[in-house]
């Protein structure tokens, strides 16, 4: 593996919430202005730190959803985890105009570097966030690498970035998106709801002979299952990069 250029110390920065958007009933995007942000690569994440008035603090990692445009802005999309300490605060309580401490960018492995091979993105739930950064970065440079996203969500209402994905499938040449619905499908969907299977990845992914760069992200159990299927289908394990967000395993 090539040695990555590593930045110096990752110091804590005080970002400001410049804007916020509801993505779905349970997810919110924070648009953060970060002073002296060095830029980031699609796939990287930040660490966020919240501190209570009595000094108690908590840190969590959040993937960067936006592609870097040299404008000092970094977007995070936070999916609510039931009774979650940090996700609930970022969704319900953090107001536009407020400061938020973070540091990054972190990670030099789960990163798309605009390399030539075709790309297969496999997302479960909020795992689409860093993959969306890759799709956006490719769109910004009008990349021609064939890109496929297989995106597993519970119901159509849970899909993040649904409108933008639909627009990009129309406008970004060589991008396609296939949804998998695990609990409820849209009306008229050809298959009953169900989990990602060998058949899904076989039909909607790239064949292993194409030697695609594969990025799999989501809850730990989803990533385990998807990565196992990809290896069983013959993908080189060295080309399957994974990011596990947590959850019961």
């Amino acid at each position: 593996m090539a040695r990555t250029a590593v930045p110096g110390r990752l110091s804590w920065r005080v970002a400001t919430v410049e804007a916020a958007r509801r993505e779905t009933p349970s997810a919110r995007t924070l648009v953060l202005r970060v002073p002296q942000w060095p830029g980031h690569l699609p796939g990287q994440h930040v660490d966020v730190r919240l501190t209570a008035p009595d000094g108690y603090s908590a840190q969590r990692s959040y993937s960067i959803a936006s592609a870097w445009r040299d404008d000092g802005l970094v977007e995070l999309t936070v999916q609510r985890v039931e009774d979650g300490e940090v996700s609930s605060y970022l969704i319900d309580d953090l107001e536009v105009g407020r400061p938020l401490e973070l540091r990054g960018p972190v990670g030099g492995w789960f990163v798309w570097r605009a390399a030539p091979p075709p790309v297969l993105l496999v997302a479960g739930g909020s795992g689409v966030v860093p993959l969306m950064a890759m799709i956006r970065a490719r769109g910004d440079v009008r990349g021609r690498q064939p890109f496929r996203l297989i995106y597993s969500v519970r119901t159509p209402q849970d899909a993040l970035y649904a409108a933008e994905l639909a627009r990009r499938v129309r406008d970004d040449p060589g991008l396609d998106v296939h949804f998998v619905y695990t609990r409820k499908t849209p009306d008229g969907w050809p298959e009953p709801p169900g989990r990602l299977t060998v058949a899904t990845l076989n039909t909607h992914g790239w064949p292993p002979d194409f030697a695609p760069d594969v990025f799999v992200c989501g809850p730990t159990a989803f990533v385990e299952a998807a990565a196992d299927i990809l290896v069983a289908l013959g993908h080189d394990p060295g080309k399957v990069r994974t990011e596990r967000f947590g959850g019961i395993s």
Partner: protein, 213 residues
């Protein structure tokens, strides 16, 4: 709204911004948790790729000294070594800690008994190509094990089975999963996550997560 309208408090680690209303759902903060860590009862997984499955008949563990000399064990040979039961806390760089985990495995002191070396550093290797660097002194004197049981059961593949390194006093990425060897090095070199910007040493109590911490 300007930043100055928010309360800022001092910490030894630097200044912190207060988030009004935060802290209501806090997890227990306890003295046995390193800074920035929270307690979990699950066993989360951090890996860079798919989980490798290693048949026991093919499993081998090898220590390679700086002259290329090798000390190897097959699975049955490894099982014949004296094993220890260890109860310890573990701390992952992704912020979770798990207290009082129980492992069974072979201490590195046993594995290094007949290894002659003057090198101070090691690169730990795992099936699947994973590497991580650990100074030799952090592996010896009862500080590290090659473990093959967790909680009384054979170690599951997603947690590093058949066997993983357990170096509990460092962040858990140093406890290489699917471990298959240790290579002695005269100089410290970065392993897999260290190349990607993580700390060369990784002491959770000094919060050495990333390079420069």
């Amino acid at each position: 709204m300007s930043l100055s309208s928010f309360m800022i408090i001092g910490f030894t680690a630097g200044m912190s911004i207060i988030s009004p209303g935060f802290g209501g759902r806090r997890r227990s903060s306890r003295p046995d948790l390193p800074p920035g860590q929270y307690l979990t009862h699950d066993f989360p997984v951090l890996s860079a790729g798919p989980t490798p499955r290693i048949p026991l008949e093919r499993w081998q563990f090898t220590i390679t000294d700086e002259t290329g000399g090798k000390h190897s064990w097959s699975w049955p040979e490894f099982q014949d070594l004296p094993a220890e039961d260890v109860t310890t806390d573990i701390h992952c760089v992704t912020k979770w800690s798990k207290l009082g985990t129980t492992w069974r495995g072979v201490t590195l002191d046993t594995l290094f008994e007949n290894v002659e070396t003057t090198a101070d550093y090691t690169m730990v290797h795992g099936y699947g190509g994973y590497t991580t660097n650990v100074p030799l002194e952090d592996l010896l004197d009862g500080k590290a094990w090659v473990a093959y049981q967790f909680d009384g059961e054979p170690l599951a593949p997603e947690h590093g089975g058949p066997a993983r390194l357990v170096v509990p006093h460092l962040y858990f990425w140093k406890s290489a999963k699917w471990v298959n060897g240790i290579e002695m090095l005269q100089q410290d070199e970065p392993g897999f996550w260290e190349e990607a910007g993580y700390h060369m040493y990784g002491d959770p109590w000094r919060e050495q997560r990333y390079q420069g911490d």
